[in-house]
């Protein structure tokens, strides 16, 4: 995007196509760009507000057609996958009655869909595993599936250079054609993401209740089936959380904000189940550390060879580390390292002694050059 001058007039702002996209929320890169611009040019805040007000008036609150279409698509996919789930899984006596479909109102019909979510969750133990995956709408195409099983952490590096650490009992799926321009994954459970920045190709994580659209950022998602709430915690950058349930709006998270999606338990009938979205800001550093403590590694090293350190990293992050040549193995280090990813730990070590490392999906190889 060509940078906009800090002296741009209000009229020019109003007529600018990307500024309009920013105001109407129809393009995430324009949104990020203009938010940064506004931050840099804070003296223009009142002008920006004025421009925005005019755009809102002229757009007549009619919504953005492509956004609305996206919601419709999501609604159709959702209702289809629930139908599939309900017809393939026999849950004795616990299915809610479908509303007599004479009712045309939005809330009643989608209410039934929300009830299906609850059903799907409560019957977790009885449902074959592949049906649970249908909830997260994982497509049946050829795919790669990474599972952590009982490992406390399992780290993988994807083809685009993004690093993902899975927590225990979690799985991450992506299609075989995942690459730098096609970045879409399906997550069940908890994972820590360090996504390679690329504004042109958003990284999309599909999780139990929400889809998370990312431009290059660090965040943690916790969404285990069978639990009453799921969480998305953003550490750096910016993500857009798009709820699968079309009644809820997309939410843009800023750093240190956490979105908690939880089931509100209705008073009696199952059909009263609804989801609640809540954004919490975590301002204290101590709390931030607490949130990602499961993945953050504190290495206290006293004159140890790189081979020993590599072993510790291997154990902690759950990724294989191999040495291409013997000499680097014996480089000795001392110091205290605190990192959230294996890559950052290695980069910190590189500051003291030069060595190289190469990453593959589930292996890191270290060499002298």
């Amino acid at each position: 995007m060509t940078p906009h001058s800090e002296k741009i007039s209000i009229e020019e702002l109003i007529c600018d196509a990307t500024f309009q996209e920013f105001c109407l929320g129809s393009n995430l890169s324009s949104q990020v760009y203009w938010e940064e611009w506004i931050q840099k040019n804070s003296h223009r805040a009142s002008d920006v507000k004025e421009a925005r007000d005019v755009i809102y008036i002229l757009a007549a609150k009619q919504g953005n057609r492509s956004e609305q279409l996206k919601q419709l698509r999501a609604g159709i996919n959702q209702s289809e996958s629930f139908k599939k789930l309900i017809t393939t899984v026999a849950v004795p006596g616990s299915l809610p009655d479908h509303p007599k479909s004479s009712s045309r109102t939005l809330y009643r019909i989608i209410g039934a869909v929300a009830a299906s979510v609850l059903i799907a969750i409560t019957v977790y133990m009885n449902v074959p595993k592949n049906e649970i995956e249908a909830i997260a709408a994982i497509p049946p195409e050829q795919e790669t599936n990474i599972q952590s099983g009982l490992d406390i952490r399992k780290t993988s590096i994807l083809a685009d250079g993004s690093l993902i650490t899975l927590s225990k009992n979690s799985s991450l799926k992506f299609k075989k054609n995942f690459n730098a321009s096609n970045r879409e994954v399906w997550l069940i459970g908890e994972a820590y993401f360090d996504v390679k920045p690329d504004k042109k190709h958003p990284f999309i994580v599909h999780s139990l209740n929400n889809d998370i659209k990312v431009l290059g950022t660090v965040f943690n998602i916790k969404a285990y089936p069978g639990e009453n709430s799921s969480e998305t915690f953003l550490i750096h950058g910016r993500v857009e959380v798009i709820p699968h349930d079309t009644r809820y709006k997309s939410i843009i998270l800023s750093p240190n904000q956490k979105l908690i999606t939880s089931l509100i338990t209705g008073k009696s009938a199952l059909s009263n189940q609804e989801l609640q979205n809540q954004v919490v800001t975590i301002s204290e550093r101590k709390q931030v550390i607490e949130e990602v403590k499961w993945v953050r590694n504190r290495l206290n090293i006293e004159n140890e060879p790189l081979s020993d350190i590599a072993e510790k990293l291997e154990d902690w992050y759950g990724i294989e580390i191999v040495f291409q040549d013997e000499e680097v193995k014996n480089l000795r280090y001392s110091g205290l390292f605190e990192s959230e990813t294996v890559i950052k730990s290695l980069e910190a070590l590189q500051l003291s002694y030069p060595f190289q490392f190469k990453v593959e999906q589930n292996r890191i190889s270290i060499s002298s050059k």
Partner: protein, 183 residues
Amino acid sequence: MSGNEDYSLYWEGLRRGDKQALFNLYNDMYFHLIRFGLKLTGDDELVKDSINQLFLNLWDKKDKLTDVSNVRSYLFSVLRNTIIDELKHSGKVDEAIRRRLLEEELDELPYEEIIIRVQNDEELKAKLQLAIKKLTPRQIELIQLRFFEGMSYEQIANTTSQSVKTAYNTIYDAVKMLRKLLK
């Protein structure tokens, strides 16, 4: 612009279970339905939700859909019923209003009326009404294409057979005048 023939083709596709036909119909009808819906209620969220619900229902019941001779007016009337039901459900409508809404013509509201209607602030409404009267029909047309229908300057230039520069300048001048009048 799509005509009724296209709508009928999409309708046939939808009955055969073609999802793309549903999306095409949606894309072509979206702004028409919004403009019609806003005539019934100033609650834009309700209108948008009702439109999506309407299409979700069409997809759900695609096997039971019958042949419809005028797809456009059929969708208008289904949307009207959806909105009335929804208003009734939330207790916002009594019998008298319901009857009046049912008598509304099945056509759209012009853009200039819509932008005034959706405003909640009475003072702004009045100012907007006066300001719009000062714009030329051409200026209103281009503003609608750009801000309401979301066309790019290139698309506007193509549809109105003028250069991108002229299209931009027309909108720019209109915006400048509006700003002065809305102050």
